[in-house]
Symmetry: C2
Subunit: 348 residues, 2 copies
Amino acid sequence: MDRDTTRGDQTHLTEFGENRMVSRFRQLANAATPPGVLLGPGDDTAILRVPADRVALLTCDMMAEGVHFRLDWATPWQIGWKAMAQNVSDIAAMGGEPGYAVASVSLPGSAPKQMAEEIAQGLIAAASEYGAALVGGDLVGSTGPVTIDVSLLGWVEEARALRRSGARPGDQILVTGALGASGAGLSLLLLGLTTARDADETAALAAHFTPRARVKEGRTLAATGCVTAMMDLSDGLAADLPRLCTESGVGARLYAAQIPIAPACAAVAPRVGAEALTLALTGGEDYELLFTCPASAAPYLAAEVGAATGTRVTAIGEVVPGDGIIMVDTAGNERPLGQGFDHFRVGA
Amino acid sequence: MDRDTTRGDQTHLTEFGENRMVSRFRQLANAATPPGVLLGPGDDTAILRVPADRVALLTCDMMAEGVHFRLDWATPWQIGWKAMAQNVSDIAAMGGEPGYAVASVSLPGSAPKQMAEEIAQGLIAAASEYGAALVGGDLVGSTGPVTIDVSLLGWVEEARALRRSGARPGDQILVTGALGASGAGLSLLLLGLTTARDADETAALAAHFTPRARVKEGRTLAATGCVTAMMDLSDGLAADLPRLCTESGVGARLYAAQIPIAPACAAVAPRVGAEALTLALTGGEDYELLFTCPASAAPYLAAEVGAATGTRVTAIGEVVPGDGIIMVDTAGNERPLGQGFDHFRVGA
């Protein structure tokens, strides 16, 4: 075996060189290439077959060290996985299927080449998990923090594409799965607890480091024809629902008692001095789907998603005229909902 | 007019906030949207119509402050332009047409919001120049250098896609346009000359800051059916030609006397203490097309490109069996060609 591909190799990128790193990256990506890839990494662009009867979906998400991840918390593989998974989640949120990704990574030249390779492996693993392929990339030796930007091309039947803008007063508001596990995981990390002590902490950290995207759920919902608006929960319900409402020109009422709290969140919250509901609303990075539909269709949608995927769907509120989000607490008191995470306005 | 859109506004991103920055970005992008964009920035993904009779081309390129640009040299608009143009050039190098781009930008929270806006305007201007559209993006508040990653989706008739791998011994090697102007511009900057003193310096700096992509030339070449391999010159002939040769499993002989030197390069080179030929070979960022074809077809290709675009095409060498690149100097002496720019091996 070539010395450069040996696991645990401490060769630095500077020493290894761009051409050889790109060759290695290519070797990794080409090992997991579906048939639609006519040409993978290594040329000026990839050449790709896209379904003729679909419209294309295109999205990108950037993750930066110190903002979205810390190298003393997450492994390079996990960072790669998450960078890909969050893009897959955006495609899922349109009711689409992910197809082809490209990824740009900037690393200090002093970084071990093993780091670049593990990031690539995480990217490829997450793409493969959802039937997508990494087909190209760029590698930059920078002076700054590790930065990963993934762009993902997917597709959907034109009539099934689910925008954020179709919610109407009277619609129910629903979410897939349960919320707060990723936020609970982050809270553990912020307290210095990087090693799980039980199954709940394991689940919370896994939710934070290796989130799943709800592709099958999104496809099932899109196929029903009943969903009026959909998005994924990346910044937390408290930040994301206002975006959906703004796009739709509506307001919302949420019922605290109905918000599905992930068991890991419920278990971990008291240990990190947080309310489980707060983590579920503001923790972010749950990558569940948030969607609306006519109230009469909600049971049907929940049954369809449950039958197709086993994932629970929960009604958490209703769309109302006007703007703003009202939270109804367990005692029946109403208050305006606060905001979630803003990359430039932390704590706002 | 909203105060936040006033030119010269010194509001910082931290104060302005992500949601409002994204709204502003969206407003800019939607003002320049072609009809194939069914949904532009602002949702989980863009929704795009792609031609049913084409294969897709997907590429990305990342630029980082301190590696690819300096904020005391280039304006944010120029940085945005270049980030887009280099991706357009990759599509051109496949013989394709650019369609839709997404861009991720990381900036310090202390950066003026005007900077983000000007970067976006440069991105959009370069996309529009080539009939493409910016359809989405991500904005990250980071602690590190300004980093811009653009991904571009384009398309080409499947049979016309031009890979790097088809060069055969006996083929001629050709380039569009002339080389070295961008390298000459960079050399001026490295000597502290940021203001042009004459038309040559103006041309050299323009080549460096606002490069053009050879889309029409690439389309014309692809339509001839005679090109055996093609790529764009981003890192310089000395670095890029070996890549084409490696992909094709061939070697090459280059004739120094035939390499077209840009007039701005020829004029500026002595002022910066460099040989014009060296700048043309190793300066990089010329974004001209490098391609090969059977020798008998070369005059036809040159005539076709000249007629369609006015751009000169020059034969600079020939493909030979084996590997390695031999440079034949003006005295007829042969020597192996050195390497160009490697992001992780500067000076290698």
